[in-house]
């Protein structure tokens, strides 16, 4: 029974908070009401059995608990009175209203006036339904720290008057970028996280994909939402091939391509085709397309590098950054050789970024400049916080010295 309640909690917590926040106009009150409802479920369901519509039961119970709480506080605040009237009306809640509520909540959690780590924590807590303890474990911080981060963020939402609203059409593209960035950050934290338990990291990738699916269901007309989901599915499809039987990191070029998840790749390709057909290109769609070209090659040598370079050129045109330039240089090395690529890489100001040194090391090694390559590997190793990637770099350095 408690497993069943945990499952309902995970699936319905975010939706229930989103609905209650509409009535209450306050996230903390909404959360308390929904938590009260789940406490009641833990008391009643073992005796009465799981109700036929658990989600509806939770929302109805949370409404009643919210009324109880507001009565106890006996506040004369007009907002409380308005909330009471709305809560007591007991009008049925339509599915499309719930969707609107969830979208409002997503935009509130990802408001740019909140710090990125606060946006991330709020999204996982309020949309993803992860517990504070789970989020704390995923980011290797004490639970009390994560609890404080969440309550400070909610206090700012209330004090600063961050609206519970989907931005209007003029603001939406800019605001959507923050939402997409938070979801991709969750995914990257899971995929290439520098810290955290391996199991929690896999759960973060799954969570990011779940959030991507939810956002796409809520905003099916936004090409970049589909682009981001496609990108995450392409990358996630390689999860099993990214580590060997000892857990060591395996580069894309050396991966066993038969271990890639075919179903995920098929879904990623279908999504990408559909959003590219709308002709509203964006950075996530282009990155998904780059991954599509990689996954079309049955072996690394069969990769269509000129096609990938053309996609990187488009990415640089709409979203220029030193990191994109570095990744583009790796492709240049495949087409024009390591010397041309090294000229590009040496112009980039990325000293603190370990992949910069790893790419330089590999290019120098291919040019036969072993001493410089060795120094670059050491620079990469000293800046790399991920144990498995560090082992990989140490192995490369060791091979270089053995030659």
């Amino acid at each position: 029974m408690s497993a069943e309640i945990a499952r309902v909690f995970r699936a319905e917590y975010g939706r229930a908070v989103a609905v209650l926040a509409r009535f209450l106009g306050d996230l903390s009150l909404a959360e308390e009401a929904v938590q009260d409802a789940f406490t009641t479920a833990l008391e009643r369901w073992p005796h009465d059995g799981v109700p036929p519509a658990p989600a509806g039961w939770i929302i109805t119970t949370a409404r009643h608990r919210a009324i109880d709480r507001l009565r106890r506080e006996a506040s004369r605040d007009r907002r409380h009175a308005d909330a009471m009237r709305l809560l007591a009306s007991d009008e049925p809640i339509e599915e499309h209203d719930v969707n609107d509520d969830q979208l409002r909540l997503i935009f509130t959690c990802c408001h740019p006036s909140l710090a990125p780590e606060a946006q991330l924590a709020l999204t996982l807590r309020l949309i993803g339904g992860l517990t504070t303890a789970e989020i704390a474990r995923a980011f290797l911080v004490p639970e009390s720290t994560m609890g404080q981060r969440l309550s400070r963020a909610k206090a700012k939402i209330r004090a600063a008057g961050i609206p519970y609203r989907v931005p209007d059409a003029a603001q939406r593209p800019a605001r959507l970028r923050f939402v997409l960035a938070v979801i991709y950050l969750v995914f990257n934290e899971g995929y290439s996280a520098t810290t955290g338990e391996a199991l929690m990291r896999a759960a973060l990738c799954d969570e990011a994909i779940r959030l991507g699916r939810l956002l796409l269901a809520l905003m099916p007309e936004e090409s970049e939402v589909a682009g981001l989901l496609s990108l995450m599915l392409f990358i996630d499809a390689r999860r099993a091939a990214r580590a060997d039987e000892h857990g060591a990191f395996v580069r894309l070029a050396d991966q066993d391509r038969s271990a890639w998840n075919g179903a995920r790749l098929a879904e990623a390709r279908a999504l990408l085709r559909a959003c590219l057909a709308r002709n509203a290109p964006g950075a996530y769609q282009i990155q998904a397309a780059i991954n599509a070209v990689h996954s079309d090659a049955t072996e690394a040598d069969a990769t269509d590098w000129p096609q990938i370079l053309a996609l990187y050129d488009r990415l640089m045109a709409i979203n220029p950054s030193p990191v994109v330039a570095l990744n583009r240089a790796v492709v240049v090395a495949e087409i024009d050789g390591p010397a041309r690529a090294l000229d590009i890489v040496d112009e980039l100001a990325l000293d603190g970024y370990h992949p910069f040194h790893a790419v330089r090391a590999d290019l120098l090694r291919r040019l036969g400049l072993d001493a410089d390559a060795s120094l670059a590997y050491q620079a990469a190793i000293s800046r790399c916080a991920n144990a498995r990637e560090r082992e990989f770099l140490e192995r490369r350095l060791h091979e270089l010295r053995a030659n």
């Binding site: 004369r76 007009r78 408001h111 006036s113 004090a159 600063a160 008057g161 961050i162 609206p163 609203r165 931005p167 603001q171």
Partner: protein, 118 residues
């Protein structure tokens, strides 16, 4: 409605823009202020003399001590303030965006405590 403080921020010791640029800034800021007034959002605004013109009063053992200010030596200074009423933060941020473009400086937006009903 909520009340927000919009502060014009500039680095301490920054030199004033040349007269022509300053005139344009004053004109643009005045324009934004007129729009705020027309929209019923404006409560108060004003420019401030530099922080080295400030005086600090403090209670010390039953006495009142007067010293040359400012209270806190800060890298950022406040060049002026606007107080406005807005429905929510997004509405306040939209006014702040217009003000930042007029002043050519960053604008800090900070909420007031809500007034308890009288």
């Amino acid at each position: 409605m909520k009340t927000y403080l919009l502060s014009v921020c500039y680095p301490a010791g920054a030199s004033q823009p040349p007269p022509d640029a300053l005139r344009k800034i004053m004109r643009d800021v005045h324009g934004v202020q007129q729009q705020m007034q027309a929209a019923g959002a404006w409560v108060f605004s004003g420019g401030l003399h530099p922080a080295n013109t400030a005086t600090v009063i403090r209670q010390q053992g039953g006495d009142v001590v007067t010293t040359d200010g400012p209270f806190i030596e800060s890298k950022e200074q406040i060049g002026g303030i606007t107080i406005l009423r807005a429905a929510d933060l997004d509405a306040a941020l939209e006014w702040a965006r217009q003000l930042a473009s007029a002043t050519t400086t960053p604008i800090e937006v900070r909420p007031f405590f809500e007034q308890p009903p009288a």
